[in-house]
């Protein structure tokens, strides 16, 4: 059995940042990163940019090729962990390799959720069937994107059907529209990007999509699909309508699954539970990224928030603590940036709260239909808890700073929605902190 000081399972945002943080603290300990995939390193959010033809496949790599050698990190591709024994502290790969470790990090992200859909002939849609089908795809890995792109090019696909209007569904939509394809997007809730969009923001983007000869079906889902051989030909929606399918992308979300850990070996809920140091319930086993349920500073409880910036921060936190530091994760909240053919949008935090005197919720908004401009700020107990910006996203991060730092905005309420809101309108103390300070502790 091979032995290592640090075993990192997962070679992406969380895993790579953890390794880098470990090296900052510990120049000598042996670090192994494992991935089940065959690509050296690539950024998941970039796979739709590759799909859209905006970047070549090589540019999906986000760390330089010499990253591993420079930091003396042992990287093992094509190594899928099938069992992690948290008590014996060893991991076993699909090909039978064993890794003993002092400390391990689970940074395996999420796997695509496959909703219950009937397949004509009596079966149910599942991962196996998707793998076998020529024109049904999930879209969470570079390999998924590569296959999808090849299929589209080879078969001259003109229209794509996307199931799911969340982050991945919209990123897919962005790519398809960019490629000049028409899309049909099917979303269960009453609006797209329901995690952070309200009806108004959603309708601006929906309209843009409809302008492009494409369609969106909300409050709807696919009930049944029809196949001819290994190809999907048609989908039947809940409202009874039928749509022809040239390709189907299943993008209803990702779930933090850890099939390689015995059930009960780690505390889990919606993801692996971790404390603020990214430690799991088992000693010396850490977890970070899309696979965990960690602090949401707005919900006041732990939640699974599967976004890149948080995976990076959690990975760093885990790495520092694995190497012996005592560094706490500050928590995060959901945020997202999408651009559908020229209409950009950024949304963050709790955006679906309604005005409510007793809960001290105020909602300020401004909408200019002629320029697709929309801005909405949600304030709860005098603090910003959510923001939506459509059409003009400049300086959106100032709102993220206000949310993260829990700044009382009661004195600047009248300005907060203004189009040219900037640091100068901020409460005096916070402004001073930003302007005169060094730019660190924000």
């Amino acid at each position: 059995m091979e032995k290592t000081d640090y075993l990192i399972i997962g070679n992406s945002a969380a895993g790579i940042n953890a390794a880098e943080a470990i090296r900052e603290q510990d120049g000598r300990g042996k670090v192994i990163i494992l991935t089940e995939e065959s690509y050296l390193n690539y950024s998941k959010p970039l796979i739709t940019y590759y799909l859209a033809g905006k970047i070549p496949i090589e540019q999906t790599g986000w760390q330089q090729g010499d990253f591993y050698s420079r930091l003396d990190i042992d990287i093992r591709l094509n190594t899928k962990i099938v069992h992690l024994d948290v008590e014996q502290k060893k991991a076993i790969s699909a090909s039978g390799d064993k890794f003993g470790f002092q400390k391990a990090l689970i940074a395996t992200g999420g796997s695509p959720i496959i909703p219950a859909i009937e397949v004509d002939g009596g079966k149910k849609l599942d991962k196996k069937l998707i793998n076998r089908a020529e024109n049904i795809f999930t879209l969470t890995t570079l390999e998924d994107a590569r296959k999808l792109k090849a299929y589209i090019e080879k078969n001259g696909v003109e229209k794509a059907t996307i199931l799911g209007g969340g982050l991945i569904g919209l990123k897919a939509a962005e790519a398809f529209l960019e490629l000049g394809l028409r899309i049909e997007l099917i979303e269960l809730s009453d609006r797209i990007l329901s995690a952070t969009f309200d009806k108004q923001a959603s309708s601006i983007v929906e309209e843009r999509i409809r302008d492009l000869n494409s369609n969106i079906f909300t409050q709807n889902t696919i009930e049944k699909i029809y196949m001819e051989g290994n190809r999907i030909t048609k989908a039947q929606l809940t409202d009874g309508s039928n749509i022809d399918c040239q390709v189907l992308v299943v993008a209803v979300g990702v779930a933090p699954e850890v099939p390689f850990v015995d059930s009960g070996a780690l505390d889990t809920d919606r993801g692996i539970k971790v404390n603020q140091f990214m430690e799991t319930s088992a000693p010396e086993i850490f977890a970070a990224g899309d696979v965990v349920q960690a602090r949401d500073i707005l919900a006041g409880e732990d939640r699974n928030i599967a976004i890149w910036p948080l995976a990076v921060m959690q990975g760093k936190t885990a790495g520092l603590n694995m190497a012996g530091s005592h560094y706490a994760y500050g928590g995060g909240f959901f945020m997202n940036s999408v651009e559908i053919l020229g209409v950009s949008s950024i949304s963050m935090g709790l955006t679906s709260l309604e005005p409510d005197d007793s809960r001290k919720v105020e909602v300020l908004s401004q909408f200019k239909p002629e320029s697709n401009y929309y801005k909405k700020i949600i304030i709860r107990e005098n603090k910003v808890v959510g923001a939506i910006l459509v059409g003009a996203i400049e300086r959106a991060g100032i709102y993220a700073g206000l949310i993260k730092n829990g700044i009382d905005v009661s004195n600047i309420r009248d300005n907060i929605i203004s189009e040219n809101f900037g640091l100068i309108q901020l409460p005096a103390d916070y402004q001073k902190h930003l302007v005169v300070g060094e730019g660190i502790e924000v």
Partner: protein, 149 residues
């Protein structure tokens, strides 16, 4: 590291820093050319904010724990470990605006040129002193190490 410090009490809102920044990052590096023929493709990377007599010039703070670097999905936004300067590699940037979403200073803009890329202060790495600092007539911007303050 040496950083730009803002002395807002001396800022009179003349916006010379913006002008010099814009010229410095122009193709021609010539003020008239930059303003006449490159207009529309240029934007200063320092922003003077002003209300009444209150004003200050703000550019990237080159944060120690830079949120923009953590948020960048392409590896374009990087902090140079030896100099501390945070820069955006324009060849890698894909214009996803994740960095704009998280910079608490609002110090990143969309580059007004043809490509969708982020634009921010690079501390004029090839100059001894960033041009906004060296051209401020009132020392409202200072370039120094915190220790010397």
């Amino acid at each position: 590291m040496k950083k730009i410090y803002i002395q807002e009490e001396y800022c009179i809102g003349c916006r010379l820093c913006e002008i010099y920044c814009q010229v410095k990052h122009s193709k021609s590096k010539k003020i008239i050319k930059a303003f006449k023929s490159e207009q529309g493709q240029l934007m200063p990377r320092v922003l003077v904010e002003e209300i009444g007599h209150n004003s200050f010039a703000i550019q990237c703070r080159h944060c120690v724990d830079a949120p923009c670097v953590d948020a960048c999905i392409s590896g374009a936004m990087k902090k140079n470990i030896s100099t501390g300067v945070v820069t955006c590699d324009q060849d890698k940037c894909v214009g996803c605006w994740s960095c704009i979403m998280v910079c608490p200073y609002g110090a990143i803009s969309k580059d007004p040129g043809e490509r969708k890329i982020a634009s921010k202060c690079d501390l004029c790495e090839d100059e001894e002193i960033p041009v906004c600092v060296s051209n401020c007539p009132n020392e409202a911007l200072k370039f120094m190490d915190m220790e010397d303050k």
